[in-house]
């Protein structure tokens, strides 16, 4: 085949989480054909998770931005224009705004998914050219508490461990991280290590019983937000028991006495009460930590996304310092990053308060160093706005021109009502984005198409400080450009307007030039990577910083000499007290809402939301509650409810989930307004933030739920042109109280819509919907009972269902969907397609229909059936293939085996 002859393989990295796995991209000149794990990459040794392994299935061209689009009037839709006039226009508006209102009237909001070179270009643009510190990144939502935590305690924002330490450790504490979902490949490594050394102890601290708990020796389901109390309580016991490294404390730390006094009050009785766990559990946890030869902790958003995020980080690091568990194999506080290059962002100074090379924007010496290097007079002194503050100032009108790159604040920030108001009111919004389908794009006055995974060239740093060279396999589609390139081209245009006659600061034609200019700024800093180059990365593979000039290899572990990056070289104990989360339950809001990840989706789903297969595990937004809560509220599984917080409300189905404690609720963070009408999950979450890290408390809001009466229901499914139809249909569903969009299927992907309303919509709206579903033609099976506002349509192609729409009466939706997925219809069956048959659905509950193993497309029902025949895990793997590829589904399969079919 000619196609096979042209196939090449390019080694690059995965664009999802911070594990930073290496991928081998199989591609032709213009098309990515397949993806596999890179056996040579030290992060994953060839493994990939369900998301990484399906990268080649994502990125539907219909969702991509292909040409710049501009609108001069907010009431109009943007229309296509050429790059030159697009950027000319942007430069004019920015220059005018800066001239009229000062440099702080413009802002840049960028992303942990950018490459290091992109970051660097944006930083230079904001701080050196525009002269503002108003550049913040979505890393503010995920890592800024860890940044402050590391810096306060250890002196630098540097995770001291390597992934290998995870395998070497004797005791691992996983706090506020469902790494089985969020960092699956590292979790696989941990699973395997524990299988090899069963004596290894794993403690999971999480209010929910997640898949991560499957390998836990101890699960502490603490009450949400009580982590500081827990860590202080553990330290209290460590002190009591003498499980401390007194020498380490004496020689390498400061502030232990103050901390000791602080934790005095955190005795086991009160800590057990605060945290909602037993004293025995607390004791067991302290003992595992205190007696472990090596102790390592992993954490993520459960600690960071909190008004006490910094305190939580510090309290956890305290445990390592008190026990001397840092700077040695299998030990250390190891923060997991959520984004592929959140680390790179921190390194290049892509938070408002930072400067390149782990410098501080508030530090005049640092400013002078960077200004000197860049050849500008000075860098701005005024503190920049962090994400929450930034959007608040956009809303208040102080920020008048906003440049957003590679992130989707209209989905990801808390309190979406205000964010949408802000974006709608901002005089000039530029969105630089690979996917023009995101919620934020709707607010863009100028939309700039960016290149994306597989098309980009540059560097990323993963959670273990490892820098990988990201290589492009194919060219970006149409006129899409690399993010650094867009930033630089814009900068050059802006220069001529606000810095005329001076030599350009942005004479970059290749990303490598940006990297080389940037790396010199790290020289002599804790993260010194001045010894790295594209050539070294290409020759020796990914490297961990520090990698100073002349180094032969990277640094696997920091602080082995116990000299810390603080002024006096000693680590600093932090003695903060425990503060409860900002919002507490009361009579009006009786539940605590936690948000988090799904196994097969990532962030705002701009990429994963283009692959139908990734919706097989969880199809749509559902609020999970303990079954006692459902019983108490007389709610049924699957019933639609209105969930409300102080800021907004959403209509979603509820589902019983006894992995959540009563009094709590869980809603995945991924669902934005595109997928779930009503601005998505974050319409509920709160913008209150940690005063030091400015990271918002996305994982803790009080809510309550009310019954809703939405008797008129709607269900539709349509194959083909998914993204186009999605974009066209979604606005029509603003008129419905509830509307949930999703993708479904694997071989024949389809768009699926579920909606509900108090009464039927008008016929004209339904007719418009039908046109977009392509079921308005004569050759469609139709059932209509206008009096009851019932209308059903099924479109067949050679006996296969290719589109269907049920309105007013949807009881056959699950049955029809199974017909769509599996069956050819014949005359006999066709007779029943429009009938209100719900039985087939009830037989196999919707849970049974979900795809458990995405790699091999094995449903939960199939696995349950096989378990019923007496198969064990190995037989299941052998016979069904499930769990043999990425392994993400293995914890769930194990649970099914353990549950002895009770759910089947």
């Amino acid at each position: 085949m000619s196609c096979a002859e042209n196939t090449r393989v390019t080694a690059s990295t995965c664009c999802y989480c911070g594990v930073g796995c290496g991928v081998l991209i199989e591609h032709s000149n213009d098309r990515i054909i397949a993806v596999s794990g890179d056996p040579a990459h030290p992060a994953n040794h060839g493994k990939l998770c369900s998301k990484g392994a399906t990268l080649h299935l994502t990125g539907d061209i219909d969702a991509r931005g292909l040409y710049p689009q501009l609108r001069l009037d907010k009431s109009q839709a943007p229309t296509g224009c050429d790059w030159n006039s697009a950027l000319d226009h942007a430069a004019r508006v920015f220059a005018q705004t800066i001239k009229d209102h000062g440099p702080d009237s413009v802002a840049f909001y960028i992303s942990g998914q950018l490459l290091t070179e992109d970051y660097y270009a944006f930083n230079k643009l904001a701080r050196a050219l525009v002269g503002t510190n108003n550049i913040d990144s979505n890393s503010r939502l995920c890592m800024s508490s860890a940044v402050v935590g590391y810096k306060r305690s250890l002196g630098a924002d540097a995770p001291p461990c390597s992934y290998q330490d995870v395998e070497l450790s004797d005791c691992i504490l996983i706090a506020g991280s469902n790494m089985a979902y969020a960092h699956p490949v590292l979790f696989r490594r941990l699973e395997e290590a524990k299988a090899r050394r069963p004596q290894m102890k794993v403690i999971v601290v999480d209010p929910r019983r997640t898949d991560t708990c499957d390998i836990a020796d101890l699960h502490l389901a603490i009450l949400p937000g009580t982590d500081v109390a827990l860590f202080h309580g553990i330290l209290h016991i460590l002190i009591d028991q003498g499980w401390l490294d007194h020498d380490f404390i004496a020689q390498h730390t400061d502030g232990f006495d103050a901390l000791k006094a602080r934790v005095q009050d955190f005795n086991p009785v009160s800590v057990a009460t605060i945290c909602g766990i037993s004293q025995a559990q607390l004791q067991a946890c302290a003992q595992m930590i205190g007696q472990a030869p090596s102790f390592l902790s992993l954490w993520c958003m459960g600690l960071n996304q909190s008004t006490a995020g910094t305190a939580k980080n510090s309290a956890l690091i305290n445990l390592h310092l008190a026990t001397g568990q840092i700077g040695k194999a299998g030990a250390g506080p190891f923060s997991l990053t959520g984004q592929p290059n959140a680390m790179g962002g921190r390194e290049t100074g892509s938070l408002a308060n930072l400067l390149p090379g782990h410098r501080e924007a508030g530090n005049s010496e640092h400013r002078n160093e960077v200004a000197g290097y860049w050849g500008v007079e000075a860098l701005p002194e005024t503190p920049g706005l962090s994400a929450i503050e930034l959007f608040e100032q956009v809303r208040s009108g102080k920020v008048k021109a906003l440049w957003i790159a590679c992130t989707n604040p209209a989905q990801s920030l808390p309190d979406q009502t205000r964010v949408h108001q802000a974006l709608a009111s901002c005089p000039f919004v530029v969105v630089q984005e690979a996917f023009f389908t995101t919620e934020t794009c709707a607010y863009a006055d100028l939309l700039l198409p960016a290149s994306s995974w597989g098309e980009k060239d540059g560097c990323v740093t993963n959670s273990e400080r490892r820098v990988s060279h990201v290589r492009s396999a194919i060219a970006a589609p149409a006129e899409a450009k690399a993010d650094w390139q867009i930033a630089c081209e814009f900068a050059r245009k802006l220069e001529t307007l606000i810095r005329p006659g001076l030599p350009s600061l942005f004479n970059f034609t290749r990303p490598e030039q940006l990297f080389d200019e940037y790396k010199a700024l790290t020289q002599g800093r804790d993260l010194d990577l001045s010894g790295l180059s594209y050539a070294i990365l290409d020759q020796h593979g990914p490297q961990q910083w520090p990698f100073p000039k002349g180094a032969q290899q990277g640094t696997a572990r920091l602080y082995q000499d116990h000299v810390f990056a603080t002024a006096n070289g000693r680590a600093q104990f932090q003695a903060e007290t425990y503060c409860a989360p900002l919002e507490e339950t009361n009579g009006r809001y009786s539940l605590v809402l936690n948000t988090g990840r799904l196994r097969d989706h990532w962030h705002g789903m701009s990429r994963t939301g283009t692959a139908a297969r990734l919706f097989g595990h969880v199809e749509e937004a559902v609020l999970s509650l303990h079954s006692d809560e459902l019983r108490r509220r007389k709610l049924n599984d699957g019933e639609l409810i209105k969930v409300r917080s102080r800021r907004g409300s959403l209509i979603v189905p509820v589902q019983a989930d006894d992995d959540i404690r009563p009094g709590q609720a869980y809603l995945p963070m991924h669902w934005g307004d595109r997928f779930l009408k009503g601005l998505g999950t974050n319409v509920l979450t709160q913008p209150g933030y940690d005063q030091q890290s400015k990271q918002p408390e996305l994982k803790h809001a009080v809510i309550d739920i009310d019954k809703v009466e939405l008797p008129w229901t709607f269900f539709a499914l349509v194959e083909g042109d998914i993204q186009k139809r999605f974009s066209q249909l979604r606005p029509l569903f603003e008129h419905f109280a509830y509307a949930s969009f999703t993708l479904t299927g694997s071989e024949h992907p389809a768009l699926q819509i579920r909606a509900a309303n108090p009464a039927a919509p008008d016929g004209e709206l339904l007719a418009s919907i039908d046109r977009l579903l392509s079921i308005d033609s004569a050759m469609v099976l139709a059932y209509d009972d206008p009096k009851r506002a019932i209308g059903k349509r099924v479109r067949l192609d050679s006996g296969r269902i290719i589109a269907l729409r049920l309105a007013g009466e949807t009881s056959a939706q699950d049955w029809l969907k199974s017909m769509w997925r599996e069956a050819q219809t014949d005359d006999q069956l066709r007779r029943w397609l429009l009938a209100p048959l719900s039985a087939a659905a009830r037989q196999g509950s919707s849970a049974g229909n979900k795809t458990l193993c995405n790699c091999m497309s094995v449903s939960q029902q199939t696995i349950c059936d096989a378990i019923g025949q007496g198969m064990d895990l190995n037989q299941l793997k052998q016979n069904l293939g499930c769990g043999t590829s990425c392994g993400s589904c293995v914890p769930e399969i194990k649970r099914l085996l353990q549950a002895q079919l009770t759910v089947c």
Partner: protein, 450 residues
């Protein structure tokens, strides 16, 4: 005891059925005399179309042979047309001069095709479609001529057209309405039917009004001319543009008529000795053209003739079926819908199926089925029995099987519906059952009245 004398004028299906019912009830009460204008004993007029289509023979459709009349002591006078009723003398006279006295008279003269009052309507080759003779003309003409035009897109016209097509003629159906079978189908079903018949080679001109039938110069029709002036060739013109009840005889004897002989609920005219039944009778404003109501009338009429009198006829809900092999259509009741009614429709263009149910005040009052008439009989029963369907409404369209699965209160018990072999076998049994039910009901042409 001396027997009463019963005379029946007309030897068709409705009348003979009355005699059969009467003999069952009271075989010895009457001396019976029957006058028949046709030279044949009672045959099944409904099945003339299958005869024309070549699917049956005249012998196949005979209902009562000569020996039946003899066995029941019925005096059968064939080929004799009654010309006068003398109610004072209680005497009828036929065209051959033969007479018969009566104590009770049963008029069952049926109807005649309506021949359009246009020039050329009496030319050779211009016929109605009513009896064996007409059928024979068509069969003979098909052997010698090629162009047939059927005027009227009702049941009878379409059956004639279909039969002529099968016999090799080039057939054009001319219809004055917008769609075919307007009395039986709504326009959606009518169009489906037209499409299906077109696929079988029939041509349609509609809406179209015939102005004149043209002479070939030898007294035979050669073409049809329309009001617009256009002309098509025609060697045979079949008028199927409705029927007229045969009331002339009754009218002449002073019996009240108005689009049929007016009868009461015991099928008696104002003269209580004189009964009228079938297509010639007008009961509560309706002259029925379908056989099922006529058989209901026969039962009541016989009951009264037998001097029992406890039975009353209160009108019928009618249903129709087109006897064109491979085309299933069914309609019953108020299938058009209208004020105060709600409709539920289902359409399956792949299967060529269209169904419409009409509901008023939670009762099924009409049904129109095209392509899949398996549930026709069941709907017909629902309409007649006036069941409240509010609990089963969403399942109603899917027929008896679905309702049984749902249960009377609408609770869903469809645990093993489609995909389950047992259901399918049940279903096929059911279809068979309905098929026979329709035949048993013996649905006949709707001979429209104008």
């Amino acid at each position: 005891m001396k027997k009463l004398k019963l005379v029946m004028i007309g030897n068709g299906m409705a009348g003979v059925r009355t005699l059969e019912e009467l003999i069952k009830l009271s075989p010895e009460l009457y001396d019976i005399t029957v006058f028949g204008a046709e030279p044949h004993p009672n045959y099944n007029r409904i099945l003339l179309s299958p005869v024309l289509a070549g699917e049956q023979t005249f012998d196949d459709i005979l209902l009562n042979d000569h020996s039946w009349y003899a066995d029941n002591n019925i005096k059968l006078l064939l080929g004799r047309k009654v010309t006068q009723i003398n109610r004072r003398q209680r005497l009828v006279t036929a065209d051959d001069g033969s007479t018969a006295e009566y104590d009770r008279l049963l008029i069952a003269t049926g109807s005649t095709p309506f021949m359009l009052p246009i020039p050329g309507n009496s030319l050779e080759g211009v016929i109605g479609y009513r009896d064996i003779a007409d059928t024979q003309v068509m069969m003979d003409t098909a052997k010698t001529h090629s162009h047939a035009v059927v005027i009227g897109g009702g049941l009878l016209g379409l059956e004639a057209a279909h039969g002529l097509k099968l016999r090799g003629m080039d057939v054009t159906v001319v219809h004055i309405g917008e769609t075919l079978l307007e009395r039986q189908l709504d326009s959606t079903a009518g169009k489906l039917l037209q499409k299906s018949l077109e696929e079988r080679g029939l041509k349609f001109m509609l809406p179209k009004q015939t102005a004149e039938l043209l002479d070939n110069g030898q007294g035979r029709v050669c073409a049809v001319k329309f009001t617009g002036g256009d002309i098509i060739a025609a060697d045979l013109v079949v008028m199927a543009a409705g029927i007229r009840p045969n009331t002339r005889l009754a009218e002449a004897s002073g019996i009240a008529c108005n689009r049929g002989i007016l009868v009461n609920d015991t099928l008696q005219t104002f003269d209580p000795r004189v009964y009228a039944i079938g297509e010639c009778a007008n009961h509560r404003g309706t002259a029925y053209g379908l056989v099922a109501p006529l058989f209901e009338q026969a039962k009541v009429c016989a009951n009264h003739l037998a001097q029992l009198g406890y039975s009353r006829y209160q009108g019928s809900v009618t249903s129709t079926k087109l006897k064109v092999t491979g085309i299933d259509l069914f309609s019953a009741g108020e299938f058009i819908g209208g004020e105060g009614t709600e409709t539920i429709t289902l359409s399956d263009p792949i299967g060529g199926i269209y169904k419409k149910l009409v509901i008023r005040d939670d009762v099924l009052v009409g049904a129109c089925l095209y392509g899949d008439t398996a549930d026709g009989g069941w709907y017909f029963r629902q309409i007649r029995e006036q069941h409240n369907i509010s609990q089963t409404r969403d399942h109603l369209m899917f027929g008896e099987n679905a309702i049984e699965a749902v249960g009377p209160q609408g609770q869903d018990q469809t645990a093993n519906m489609p995909g389950n072999a047992q259901v399918w076998s049940d279903n096929s049994v059911y279809q068979y059952k309905i098929g026979t039910a329709i035949q048993a009901a013996g649905l006949e042409h709707n001979h429209e009245l104008r």
